[in-house]
């Protein structure tokens, strides 16, 4: 019997700035996502490992102590190559910054902070295959 029950698209947010984590979490929850958020990337990785198939996208800061966003994205992709990874940075995104690790590390997108919740939601939906017209409360298959 097919399972017709819809589930929320689950996101993992990682940023060492707790204020940013809170703002993103609240905004994305409001926009209908299920969100797990961490300021410690190692804890985020542990959470991901414990339920890797449940996440559809990881949104991570790039420059973090303990485990950088680049290192985290490598580990995430090793565990579940299907999950999308988006890196955030407050710095100018320069191609050289990533060419050192690409194409060995697959990152699906970048966003430059600060970014509004609407733009971020559009970016996420674009990556996980939903429409831009999705409204609050809608669910993702």
């Amino acid at each position: 019997m097919p399972d017709n029950k819809k589930r929320l698209a689950k996101l993992l947010i990682v940023d060492d700035d707790s204020d940013i984590v809170q703002v993103l979490k609240m905004g994305l929850l409001k926009n209908g996502f299920a969100v797990e958020a961490f300021t410690n990337p190692q804890e985020a990785l542990q959470s991901f490992k414990s339920d890797a198939e449940s996440y559809c996208l990881v949104l991570s800061d790039m420059r973090m102590p303990l485990l950088s966003g680049i290192q985290l994205s490598k580990k995430i992709k090793e565990i579940n190559p299907n999950v999308k990874v988006v890196l955030m940075t407050a710095f100018e995104i320069r191609h050289e910054e990533f060419s050192k690790v690409f194409p060995s590390t697959q990152v699906d997108g970048f966003v430059q902070k600060p970014i509004g919740i609407k733009d971020l939601t559009d970016k996420i939906l674009g990556l996980i295959g939903d429409t831009k017209n999705r409204k609050k409360g809608d669910e993702v298959e």
Partner: protein, 225 residues
């Protein structure tokens, strides 16, 4: 030596002022971004704001006494802050929030330099040394007391992998524990989470057999060796 948390702020500043001498390259391990913000903010406030006040006083004395020596002695250090886990604008904001008045004025006068550590290390890690050398040269030309370079080395931990330690050790190896007649206090800043990933052998090489002074700051206390 371990110091209780009440003494933390004072002992850190004493380390900057008294224990780290001109010409020395040292290592500071910090527990959180908030802590390193407090450290550099207090240092800038103590060094530059006080020096600015002295310069005004010195200039007044010069007008009265026509003494060039007084003016030379009162010239402030150049402080370089090279953050990795926060932006240049964030550092400016933190300094202002800490009570450092007219941050832009300090930058414009050449006393304060804030540079993104990534852009100073990449693509050539020697670019950071070139930047510090140029500040050292300028400090001499301008008759300043010297340079304090507070450089976050988080860059070396960005990509991970086997090359991390090698590049870092190579960089630290290029910084002598002590240079005679040097005018730079070099402080390589490590987040504890990064420093903790290094092996004992790596740490031994980075400190050049513990010849470099090390200040390890924790949330509740700090340790020096």
């Amino acid at each position: 030596m371990r110091t209780e948390s009440e003494d933390n702020e004072e002992s850190i500043q004493r380390w900057f002022d008294k224990e780290v001498e001109d010409g020395e390259n040292t290592i500071l391990v910090y527990p959180s971004t908030q802590t390193i913000r407090q450290i550099y903010s207090k240092y800038v406030k103590d060094q530059l704001v006080a020096a600015r006040d002295q310069e005004v006083e010195g200039n007044n004395n010069n007008n009265n006494n026509n003494s060039r020596d007084t003016n030379k002695q009162s010239k402030s250090r150049i402080i370089l802050i090279a953050p990795f886990y926060e932006t240049v604008d964030s550092v400016k904001y933190q300094l202002s929030a800490f009570g450092v008045e007219n941050v832009q004025g300090l930058i414009d006068s050449g006393s304060l330099v804030i540079a993104d550590s990534f852009q100073s290390f990449f693509p050539d890690i020697n670019d950071m040394k070139k930047l510090i050398d140029s500040l050292s040269e300028r400090a001499r030309k301008e008759g300043r007391a010297g340079v304090t370079a507070i450089v976050d080395v988080g860059f070396f931990f960005l990509f991970g992998g086997d090359s991390k330690a090698a590049d870092l050790i190579s960089y630290e190896a290029s910084l002598a524990p002590k240079t005679q007649d040097g005018n730079v206090k070099g402080i390589s800043c490590y987040h504890w989470g990064n420093y903790g990933t290094l092996t004992d052998a790596d740490k031994e090489q980075i400190t050049q057999g513990q010849k470099k002074k090390l200040l390890e700051v924790t949330e509740s206390s700090n340790t020096t060796s």
